[in-house]
C-alpha cells in the first residue's frame, strides 16, 4: 500500500523540478565546483539513511552523492543522529543536513531549505501480535511513541486529546519500534517510508492505518550560510528528475526492499564484529587520551587543593565543582555544540569528546589526589620539613610515595568509569563502541542481541584492564 502511494508521489515531483531548474540558472554551478562540504545526517532513518556492511547508504545518501558528482563538489557525510545533526548545523559544525527532514515553518526560521525532494506522511504501526488496536479510536488511555521533533510527534499530539492517549518521544526509529515490541507503548507514529522499510525488514510491527497527508522533505543549510550549496542541490535534483535517475533511486529503496535474511546469533556476531572492533578502538583511544590528560589535570589541581595559597585552592575548587556539579552529557553537548556557537570555531568530535571526558575525569582525579595526599599523616610532612627538606622534596620523597599507594585503587576505578563514560559520546556522533552498536541494531532491528554483544565487549575489555591494573598495583605498591 505504502509503495503504491510512493510511486504516485514520485510522479508528482516532476512538476516541481521545472521550477527548481529555472531558479538554478541565476546561481552558476561553478560556485560549488571543487569545494568540499560536510553534510550531517541521521544515524539511521532507513530507507533514507542507514548502514549496509558499514557503509552509509539510502535515498538521501544516493541523492546527495549523485548531486555532488553532477555539480562537481565533494561531500563528507557525518552520521550524527537527527537532533545532533540539526545542532551541528546551527553551530556550523556541518555545512548542510539531509536527514529526511520535513520542511516546517519553525525550521525555516533557522534554516534555509532546498526545493522539496520527497513527499512524506505519517503512519501508525503496532506490534505484529497486537489485534486490539486497529485505529486511532482504540488508543484511549494508552501510550504511543513518536520521534522527538518529528512530523509524527506533531501529528500524534494534534489528535491525542480527541482520542485520549499519551505521546512519548524517543530519539530514533529503532528505539521506538523496540518500545512498541516491548509493550511500553502500544503504537508508533513514524514517517511511512521508514515504517514500510522497517516492516519489510521484519522489525516485528505492522501498519494499521492509512498514511496521513504530511509535509515534504528538504535539504537544509544554516540560515544565510552556503546559498550556493542549496542552489547546486536544486539544480542537481532537477537534473536527476528529468533524467529519470531520481525515480530509479526511489525504486531501488522503496519498490521492493529485500527482506532481511535472519542469520543466527553467530552470523550477527561475525557480521557486526568488524564495525564493533572499530568502535572499540575509538573507545580505547578516547579513554587513553582522556585518562592521561585527566591525570595531569588531577595532579595539578590536586596540588592546588592542598596548597597554602587561597587563590590556587579556590581555583581548584571552582574547577572541581563545575565539572562534578554538571552532568557529563550536558558537558559533551556543550563542548561539541555550544562552544562552537559561542566561539565560531568548529571542533571535531574526537577533540570535543576527549575534552569532555578529560575535564570531567580530571575533576574526580583532583579529589583522588587531594584525598590521597591528605590521608598521609601530617606527621610525615613535619618529619621531612624538620630535617630541613623543602616542600617539594618532602612531597616527592615522603608524602607522594605513600599517597600514590592509597590513590591507586581509586585511579583504577576512575579509569574504568571513564572507559564506560565514553559510551555517552555516542550522542554527539562519536563512532565508539556503543554508537556502532546503535548503528547495527538500527538497521537490523535485533536490539537485544546486538546490545548483548556490545555489553560483552565492554565487560571483557574492562575486566582485562582491571586485572592488569591490579597486577601492576600489587607489583609497584607492595
Amino acid at each position: 500500500m505504502a509503495v503504491t502511494a510512493l510511486l504516485a508521489l514520485g510522479g508528482g515531483f516532476v512538476g516541481v523540478s521545472a521550477a527548481a531548474a529555472s531558479q538554478s540558472q541565476t546561481n552558476p554551478v561553478s560556485a560549488v565546483a571543487g569545494e568540499t562540504y560536510v553534510i550531517g545526517t541521521d544515524t539511521t532513518f532507513a530507507p533514507f539513511e542507514y548502514r549496509e556492511d558499514g557503509e552509509l547508504t539510502g535515498i538521501d545518501m544516493d541523492l546527495i552523492r549523485d548531486i555532488a558528482a553532477s555539480q562537481g563538489f565533494t561531500v563528507e557525510i557525518k552520521s550524527l543522529g537527527f537532533d545532533a545533526a540539526l545542532q551541528a548545523l546551527q553551530s556550523n559544525q556541518v555545512d548542510g543536513v539531509i536527514a529526511g527532514m520535513s520542511i516546517t515553518d519553525e525550521r525555516k526560521l533557522v534554516f534555509d531549505f532546498s526545493d522539496p525532494y520527497f513527499d512524506s506522511g505519517v503512519q501508525m504501526a503496532v506490534a505484529d501480535s497486537n489485534t486490539q488496536i486497529t485505529g486511532y479510536a482504540d488508543l484511549a488511555g494508552e501510550t504511543v511513541v513518536a520521534k522527538r521533533g518529528s512530523e509524527g510527534e506533531t501529528f500524534a499530539n494534534s489528535i491525542k486529546d480527541e482520542y485520549d492517549f499519551t505521546v512519548k518521544a524517543l530519539a530514533d526509529s529503532a528505539t521506538m519500534y523496540d518500545d512498541v515490541k516491548a509493550g511500553n507503548s502500544v503504537a508508533v507514529f513514524d514517517d511511512y517510508p521508514v515504517l514500510a522499510y522497517g516492516i519489510n525488514q521484519n522489525n516485528g510491527l505492522k501498519s494499521v492505518t492509512e498514511k496521513e497527508r504530511g509535509s515534504s522533505y528538504g535539504f537544509a543549510v544554516n540560515k544565510g550560510q552556503n546559498p550556493e550549496l542549496v542552489a547546486a542541490f536544486n539544480t542537481g535534483l532537477a537534473e536527476l528528475k528529468s533524467s529519470g535517475k531520481y525515480q530509479t533511486i526511489l525504486d531501488k529503496y522503496l519498490e521492493q526492499p529485500a527482506p532481511a535474511a535472519a542469520s543466527g546469533f553467530f552470523g550477527l556476531l561475525t557480521d557486526s564484529l568488524p564495525a564493533l572492533m572499530k568502535g572499540l578502538g575509538l573507545t580505547l583511544l578516547a579513554t587513553g587520551l582522556s585518562i592521561l590528560i585527566a591525570l595531569v589535570l588531577g595532579v595539578l589541581f590536586g596540588f592546588f587543593k592542598v596548597s597554602e595559597s587561597r587563590v590556587l585552592r579556590g581555583l581548584a575548587s571552582i574547577y572541581v565543582s563545575i565539572f562534578r556539579g554538571t552532568p557529563l552529557l550536558v558537558q559533551a553537548f556543550f563542548f561539541y555544540f555550544g562552544l562552537p556557537q559561542l566561539t565560531g570555531q568548529s571542533i571535531d568530535v574526537l577533540t570535543a569528546g576527549v575534552l569532555t571526558l578529560s575535564l570531567n575525569a580530571g575533576a574526580y582525579m583532583t579529589e583522588i589526589v587531594r584525598g590521597g595526599i591528605q590521608s598521609v599523616d601530617p606527621g610525615q610532612t613535619e618529619a621531612g620539613r624538620s630535617l630541613g627538606l623543602g616542600y617539594v622534596t618532602t612531597m616527592r620523597r615522603v608524602v607522594l610515595p605513600q599517597a600514590v599507594k592509597i590513590m591507586t585503587p581509586s585511579f583504577i576505578n576512575q579509569f574504568v568509569m571513564t572507559l564506560k563514560d565514553t559510551s555517552l559520546l555516542a550522542v554527539i556522533g562519536f563512532a565508539e563502541l556503543t554508537y556502532q552498536g546503535q548503528q547495527i541494531y538500527a538497521a537490523n532491528f535485533r536490539t537485544g542481541e546486538t546490545l548483548l554483544i556490545v555489553a560483552a565487549l565492554y565487560f571483557i575489555v574492562i575486566n582485562l584492564l582491571t586485572m592488569l591494573s591490579n597486577k601492576l598495583d600489587k607489583r609497584f605498591n607492595k
Binding site: 606527621g379 610525615q380 624538620s386 627538606l389 615522603v398
Partner: protein
C-alpha cells in the same frame, strides 16, 4: 651568647591563644626540660623553635637566625635543629637505613658512601646496627624512637628538640630511649626536652621550665623547682605528678 633566644612569643590558633608571651634564653650546651599539664602550650612552644608552627607575634632567634624574618631560609636553619616526635614519624615506605640517609643525600651534604657510613655509625650509637635493613613496621616503639633520633642526628644538628619522645612508649621501652637522650646531654648537645618524665628531668636538666596556660609560671634548676617550688600553680602540679 644565647643559642636560642625567645622574646615576647605569642601563638594563636584562630581565636584560641595558646602561647601568651614567652621569654626564654638558652645557652649553648644547656639541657632545658619543659614540664606542665596538658594544654599548657609546651609542644607548641617547641614547634615554634623550628617554625613547624608559625609565630603569631614576638621573636625566635636560633643560631643567629631570626625565624620571624620571612627572608630567612628555614630549610637551612632546620638543619641545625633536630626534632624528635611523640609518634616517631618514621617514613614507613623506607628501610631504617633509607630513613636516616634521606636528608643527608637530598641535601647533598654527603656522598652516598659517606652517608651510608654515617647512618650505620648512628645506628650503632643508638644500639640498632642490626636493624639497618628492617622496615619501621618491624620495629618496637622504643626501637622506632631510637631510629628517629638517629635520623635527626644524621644532618648533624647542634640543637635537639624532643616533643614528649617517650609518651607513646610502653613503660619497659622508656628507659632505652631516655638513655640515648642522656648520652646526648653528656656530649654537650643543646637540648629542649618536653617531657612527663619528672625523674628524668630532675636527673639530666640544667634547667626546668614549668608552663601552664600558655605562660612560663616558674623556672629554675631541678633542685630549686622540684625541691622548693615558689608558685602555688607549680606546687599543685608537682603534688599531682610526683
Amino acid at each position: 651568647m644565647s643559642k636560642i633566644s625567645v622574646s615576647g612569643l605569642r601563638k594563636s590558633f584562630g581565636a584560641n591563644e595558646v602561647l601568651k608571651g614567652l621569654d626564654v634564653e638558652i645557652t649553648e650546651g644547656e639541657v632545658v626540660c619543659v614540664i606542665g599539664p596538658s594544654g599548657s602550650g609546651k609542644s607548641t612552644f617547641l614547634r615554634c623553635l623550628n617554625k613547624l608552627d608559625e609565630l603569631s607575634a614576638g621573636a625566635v632567634i636560633v643560631d643567629g637566625f631570626d625565624l620571624s624574618d620571612k627572608t630567612v631560609n628555614l630549610n637551612e636553619v632546620r638543619q641545625h635543629i633536630g626534632m624528635v616526635f611523640q609518634h616517631f614519624n618514621l617514613f614507613p615506605h623506607m628501610t631504617v637505613l633509607q630513613n636516616i640517609m634521606l636528608a643527608p643525600l637530598e641535601l647533598k651534604k654527603e656522598s652516598a658512601a659517606n652517608a651510608r657510613a654515617t647512618a650505620l655509625k648512628l645506628l650503632d650509637r643508638v644500639g640498632l646496627a642490626d636493624k639497618a635493613n628492617a622496615r619501621p613496621a618491624q620495629l618496637s616503639g622504643g626501637q622506632k624512637q631510637r631510629v628517629a633520633i638517629a635520623r635527626s642526628l644524621a644532618v648533624n644538628p647542634d640543637i635537639m628538640l624532643f616533643d614528649e619522645a617517650t609518651s607513646a612508649l610502653d613503660p619497659e621501652m622508656v628507659g632505652e630511649v631516655l638513655q640515648v637522650i642522656r648520652d646526648l646531654a653528656a656530649e654537650g648537645m643543646t637540648m629542649v626536652v618536653v617531657t612527663h618524665e619528672m625523674g628524668f628531668a630532675r636527673e639530666v636538666a640544667d634547667r626546668v621550665i614549668f608552663m601552664a596556660d600558655g605562660v612560663i609560671v616558674e623556672e629554675g634548676t631541678p633542685a630549686e623547682l622540684f625541691g622548693n617550688p615558689q608558685q602555688e600553680r607549680t606546687q599543685d602540679f608537682l603534688s599531682k605528678v610526683l
